[in-house]
């Protein structure tokens, strides 16, 4: 007979990154009305949408929500979106959405939505990608993959945290770099198609990752990677090759 422990089962394999926080299942189960209060253009393809959600339960940087739009015939479309804003007590949250080619939900936001419109949200969801601000964080994103990472950068600033934080962000060009005006000394941008005068253009490489990983803070980095699957595969391989432990790499892929 194999021994069956009453305690929690731990697989004999190396454990994947554990969740960071306990999740409120009550908050996740309830649809709430979110009222659009402001739209801010970020890049030619991305805009930030600010919502009033008076009963919002609060979130941690890195968490996402589910958003639902409903047509008159009852047809509903729902999508997961990362929360862009840092947690605060304003009763507002922000999402930054790419205008996806043919996207029924992002298309509505970019062509129809205006302040005063109401949509429905439930969340926050999933503690896996959350960063409570407790550990040194190495953030790597591409395109709109920077959105949940920006919530972490904003949280770090708003709380004046001293724990180290670095952001490597890949964008096609300076014009396509979301939050460009807000990024500071913690950020290294990488431009894949065109960049400012004198700055090399191309894919993120080991040379971008090495300077951060060669001088790890006490306790090492917790790495958060967000972007397309192709980018996530590429960036996570760079991290592993540079010595980042596999079980300290958290990945959120679009889809």
């Amino acid at each position: 007979m194999t021994d069956i422990s009453a305690s929690s089962f731990t697989p004999p394999t190396r454990f994947a990154v554990p969740g960071r926080i306990a999740v409120s299942n009550r908050a996740a189960a309830v649809w709430q009305t979110a009222t659009l209060t402001e739209i801010r253009r970020e890049t030619p393809h991305a805009a930030t949408f600010r919502f009033a959600v008076p009963a919002w339960a609060g979130h941690l940087p890195g968490q996402h929500l589910m958003l639902r739009l409903t047509a008159e015939d009852g047809y509903a479309a729902q999508r997961h979106y990362s929360i862009a804003s840092a947690p605060d007590d304003t009763g507002h949250i922000e999402l930054t959405l790419d205008h996806v080619e043919g996207g029924e939900v992002s298309g509505w936001f970019h062509t129809v939505a205006k302040p005063g419109d109401e949509v429905e949200v439930r969340g926050p969801l999933s503690g896996f990608f959350a960063w409570p601000g407790d550990r040194p964080a190495l953030l790597i994103g591409a395109g709109s993959g920077v959105v949940p990472l920006m919530a972490m950068v904003r949280h770090h600033r708003a709380r004046e945290l001293s724990v180290p934080l670095r952001l490597l962000v890949s964008a096609r060009s300076p014009e396509e770099l979301i939050y460009a005006r807000e990024l500071g000394a913690e950020t290294t941008p990488v431009f894949t198609r065109s960049g400012p005068e004198g700055v090399a253009v191309g894919r993120m490489t080991a040379a971008h990752v090495a300077p951060v990983l060669s001088e790890p803070p006490p306790g090492g980095w917790e790495a958060y990677v967000c972007g397309s699957n192709a980018f996530a595969e590429h960036a996570s391989r760079l991290l592993v090759e540079a010595g980042q432990p596999v079980d300290r790499i958290r990945i959120e892929r679009f889809g």
Binding site: P11, T13, R26, R122, F128, G255
Partner: protein
């Protein structure tokens, strides 16, 4: 019902195969793993069944392939709202492994775990009766690593996070024990037809 001003949505297609809240992803097959894709060769892959069974057993790649082949042709449904129609997986029915391991009558649930340490919990009844597979082929080709190759669990009648990639084993239990996403707020069973996405649904 809270109608969204000016929202019409995509063209309505009557598709009785589409569970509530899902859309047809067409040719796309999004990858949503939360961990680094492992570099796992077939020669290093193993699959173990243990816990509340008469004969705990580990199969290697060749031993697993010696079991009778079985295929799944149908649909898969991801909790993030995409569904994919007419997929073809090849592998071995999980029944073939369980017939060898012989579950005890007291076994009611299982934790499936991956070579990465990912875990997910399932009622044993969802893993038997020709409804679950260990799959190593997709569309007649070796299953790509980012989709769980060399071999993944396939439980297509539940949301796809239950179909653990890089499957390493099943531990049979006499109780339910939440896995990775289930500890992160996802539903214990994940039936797409009842839209069991999150705990409390």
């Amino acid at each position: 019902m809270n109608v969204t001003r000016g929202f019409t949505g995509r063209d309505r297609v009557h598709n009785p195969g589409l569970p509530p809240g899902q859309y047809d992803a067409g040719e796309d097959w999004p990858v949503l793993s939360a961990e680094v894709t492992p570099d796992l060769a077939p020669a290093d892959w193993t699959f173990r069944v243990d816990g509340l069974v008469e004969r705990p057993r580990t199969w290697d790649w060749d031993e697993a392939h010696a079991l009778p082949p079985s295929a799944y042709e149908g649909d898969i449904h991801c909790v993030t709202s995409w569904s994919k129609f007419g997929v073809r997986f090849g592998g071995v029915s999980l029944d073939a492994f369980l017939d060898v391991a012989r579950p005890h009558g007291s076994a009611t649930h299982a934790v499936a775990y991956s070579h990465t340490g990912y875990t997910t919990n399932l009622p044993l009844a969802d893993l038997t009766g020709g409804r679950a597979w260990i799959a190593w082929e997709y569309d007649g080709e070796p299953l790509p690593a980012e989709h769980g190759g060399p071999a993944r669990l396939l439980v297509p009648h539940l949301y796809f996070w239950k179909s653990a990639k890089w499957i390493a084993g099943l531990r049979l239990l006499d109780h339910d024990e939440p896995g990775f996403w289930e500890q992160n707020g996802y539903h214990a069973r994940g039936n797409p037809w009842e839209e069991q996405r999150y705990s409390g649904d």
